[in-house]
Amino acid sequence: MNWAEFFTMGGYGKFIWSAYGAAAFIIILNVVLPMRRHKKVLHMLRELLKMKERE
C-alpha cells in the first residue's frame, strides 16, 4: 500500500477525511475549551480573593 492510495481511499477519500476531520475538530474543541475555561475561572477566583484580602 502506498500513501497516495491510502489518502484516496478507493475514491471515498474526501468523504472519509472530512468525516474524520470534523470528528477530530469537535473532539479537540472539547479538550481545549474546558481547559481554557478552567484556567480563566482559576484566574478570576484568584483576583476575587486578592480583592477580598485588600478589603
Binding site: M1, F6, M9, G10, G11, Y12, F15, I16, S18, A19, Y20, A22, A23, I26, I27, L29, N30, V31, P34, M35, R37, H38, V41, L42, L45, R46, L48, L49, K50, K52, E53
Partner: protein
Amino acid sequence: MNITKYAAPVVFYPLAGKLIPWFAWATGITLTIGLIMGLFIAPTDYQQGESYRIMFIHVPSAWMSMLVYVVMATAGAVALAWKTRLSEMLATACAPIGASFTLIALITGAIWGKPMWGAYWVWDARLTSELVLLFLYLGFMALQASIDDPRRAARAAAILALVGVINIPIIHFSVEWWNTLHQPASVSKISAPSIHPSMLWPLLINAVGFHLFFATTVLMRMRTEVLIRERHKSWIADIVGVKP
C-alpha cells in the same frame, strides 16, 4: 469504605485532578490503536468499499450520545431526589459533551450517507430521533443558562432531562419499529454481531476510547463547575493558592 465521601466537592476536586492525566493518556493510547486498526489494518468492505471506515467513529459517537444522556438524566434524578451538589455538576458537565457526540454522529452519518444512500439527510425515524437528542441537549443547556440561581437551574434542567429520556429507547428501536433508510443494528443485536471480527475490533476499541475520553472531559468540566459553585467556601482559597 464510604463512597459518599468522594461525592463531597472538597474531596472530589483534588481526586479528579489526579485521575484526569491517567484517563487522558488511556484515551490517547486507545484511540491511536483504534484509528490505526480502523484506517490501516481493517479490510475493505464487500459492499461499501473503503467508505465504511466512517463507521469506526460514527457508531461509537452515536452510542456515546445515548449513554451520556442516560448518565446526565440519572445524575439529574439523583440531584432531584437527594439534593447532592456533585450530581448536579455531573449533569451540567455531561450536556456539552453529549451534544458534541450527537453532533459527531450526525455529521459523520451525513457524510457517510451521501455516497452510500445517495442523500446527506432523510427524515426517517432514526435520523429524526437523533436530531431530537441534539435539541434535548441544547435545550438542557439553554434552560440551565436562563436561570440565575444554580440550584434552581439544575433542578429545572434535570426535569427536562428526565422527560427527554423517552427519546433514548425511541432512537434505539426506531430501526425496528418503523421502516427506515438507516440499517438495523449490527453489534447490539441478540445473535452474533454481523460485523467481521477484523472490523469489529477497531470499532470496539474506538468505543472504549470514546468512553475514556468522556471520563477525561467530564472530570475536567466538573472541576471547573466545582470552582464556580463552591467559590465562597474557604477551601477554595487553598486550592487557588491565595490565603484569605
